[in-house]
Amino acid sequence: MKYIDEFRDPKIAHRLVEEITRRVTRDWTLMEICGGQTHTLVRYGFEEMLPKQVHLVHGPGCPVCVTPLEVVDKAIELAARPDVIFVSYGDMLRVPGSKKDLFHVKAEGGDVRIVYSPMEALKLAKNNPDKKVIFFGIGFETTAPPHAMAVLTAHREGITNFYMLASHVLVPPAIRTLLESPHNRVQAFIAPGHVCTVVGFDQYESLAQRYNVPIVVAGFEPLDLLEAIHMLITQLEAGKHEVQNQYARSVTRYGNIPAQRAVEEIFEICDRKWRGIGSIPMSGMRINAKYAAYDAERVFGLEDSGAEEPKECIAAQVLMGLQKPLDCPEFGTRCKPESPLGAPMVSPEGACSAYYQYKRHLAPVGD
């Protein structure tokens, strides 16, 4: 498959691994932020290939996993209303709220639809004028532009029965939180390629300079990630801390300006709770006052369920890169994808789920 197979060539992969092995002289801990990258690393078994000194830990970059419990509860409350068509990306349906998930709501008669694009939700709103169509707008900077476009389009076309339950999160504040934690052990970051396609990598320069960490913006194919690891190890061994762009075929320094304008038009920065981590100031986006008529939280007057998350899962350590999924005593025993105890087991892109899916034959636990 053109433009895919070139980035999965085993021969080049092994050459890159040899080169990394030659360069590395001591232990280094690298973190990839994005769940899609975690998925590739685990799926292709990078840990089996790379030298033992290179430690890969997995960051909080699965938007499904970090969507806070009370937002999931709000989604569930809305979806159960008889006059509502609740529209979501597929993998949010299995995320447990405090009592149930959206699949259960659907089974109980709630009108819950899976779509690939928020524009499909707009179409549903047009075709069902007697229903309130609510789109579950979650994700990082990547999904914010299409969500903004959906609201803009609804506004332009005068669609009045379309709403968004928006819970966006931003990557740089999460990186900052990690780096300011006294427990931090991450020495270099693989920055998320798709996020940077939208926002560019300019804002990562200040992170690299302020915290002395090398950052490489990378794609999602195995060779993208191996090349990024190679670039990071080279920088670390040379004592450098620069931002490099491995994903130049997609990412530019300032990103996609029209997309950013659309996002700025619709959303505003706010504090946001991350499931498994806690509240991070200025780490989220919500619909601003001008477009309040499309904001499901305001329109439907939703209140926080106040649901407390129990403390038995080590999600925080996993999402902060302090522990690996296989370190958890509940991994593969009580906590499985079909009955997740915590956020990283929920979505296929969560770190624990990726390990469960691909790597539990290497662990002493599992069924």
Partner: protein, 353 residues
């Protein structure tokens, strides 16, 4: 800048959900949830030695004759798709389930559940296709039933078929019979049917139309059996795809499996669609493919025989049964590393980014 979180290692995650009290769509996906229904609801109610074999068909003897019987319901949407329709699928599904037990399919029943308002012309097309597929497969439809439900209480039309066939004497196949050393043979490309249906539903267009692989496999099976090779078991990887079929065999036989990523054929356009939709072809449904677990020394001979048959042209050995990690299927990736090929918990869900 205030970036403090209450990060003290005691944070937080959701509690497990209470046991599922209602049927979810995932219960019909052929994955772990389907297996749970079987174990918790159906087997306790119906358990008997014939059912408990849990193959795609039941085999039993009447007056010394070895028979195979299977039943299957078809709810595919859209009713018509490139490469087939619900009518031909209803024949192929049942014929293949019989064939995987080594049976020659003979007779079928057909039951229709029709939604009020369905155009008669649609029904006629489906029936015509069903008749043609049955004639091609050499099975006779000898009984049937029709029910009509109110508008909104069904999705145009559903079909149930039951099939009966004869099993040759001395032939024993079963998912509990795989042994370390056996070879795993796959008859051709993965994912064609599932991706064809999904592309239709989602309105995805590719340079070439992805065709369903829906086909009757009893002829291919017969040619395998005619080699007199030691065949342990056969499966058609429908719902849940190759991964579910292999996991089931690995679990029932208490063996491990190692499959080779580079040996598993997937069409370019199917790979492309899977990339786009975030799906893994190993989990996508097939309706005209089979796997055979065969004693190692006979494997090459079986592959050659299959390749000579129109539905087995791309047959090949894709893996080996091993004694390590019993119950688990592991794949050697193109990078030489290994990863688990698990059974899905529910439906494969599209990823969001």
């Amino acid at each position: 800048m205030a970036t403090k979180t209450e990060f003290d290692g005691t944070l937080t995650c959701p509690a497990p959900l209470p046991a599922v009290e209602r049927v979810l769509l995932g219960h019909g996906s052929g994955g772990k949830l389907s297996a749970q229904l079987l174990e918790r609801i159906f087997l306790p109610a119906f358990s008997n030695p014939t059912l408990d074999q849990l193959n795609d068909q039941a085999t039993f003897s009447i007056d010394g004759m070895r028979m195979a019987m299977t039943t299957d319901s078809f709810v595919v949407n859209p009713l018509f798709f490139p490469g087939g329709d619900i009518g031909s699928l209803a024949v192929h599904g049942t014929v293949n389930d019989l064939a995987m037990g080594g049976a020659q399919p003979l007779y079928m029943s057909v039951a229709f559940i029709l939604e009020e308002g369905l155009p008669i012309e649609t029904l006629q097309r489906v029936v015509g296709s069903l008749r043609q597929a049955a004639a091609q497969a050499g099975v006779q439809i000898i009984t049937g039933d029709t029910k009509v439900v109110e508008q909104g209480k069904g999705d145009e039309l559903f079909i149930n078929t039951t099939g009966i066939g004869l099993v040759a004497h001395g032939l024993t196949l079963g998912s509990e019979r795989a042994r370390p050393g056996d070879k795993i043979i796959l008859s051709g490309t993965l994912g064609d049917h599932g991706i064809c249906i999904l592309a239709q539903r989602e309105g995805l267009e590719f340079e070439t139309t992805i065709q369903s692989d829906s086909a009757p496999l009893h002829g291919l099976v017969q040619s395998i059996l005619n080699t007199h090779a030691e065949v342990r078991c056969m499966r058609d990887p429908t719902r849940g795809g190759l991964s579910s079929s292999l996991n089931e065999i690995a679990q029932r036989s208490h063996v491990g499996m190692m499959i080779e990523e580079e040996q598993i054929p997937v069409r370019e356009e199917v790979r492309g669609a899977c990339e786009l939709l975030g799906l893994d072809p190993l989990y996508v449904a097939n309706e005209g493919k089979m796997i055979a677990i065969v004693e190692a020394s006979a494997a090459d001979r079986v592959v050659e025989t299959m390749q000579a048959h129109e539905y087995g042209r791309e047959a090949r050995i894709v893996g080996t049964v091993i004694d390590r990690h019993p119950g688990t299927v592991v794949m050697r990736t193109s990078f030489g590393t290994t990863r688990i090929v698990d059974m899905l918990a529910g439906d494969q869900l599209p990823r969001i980014c």
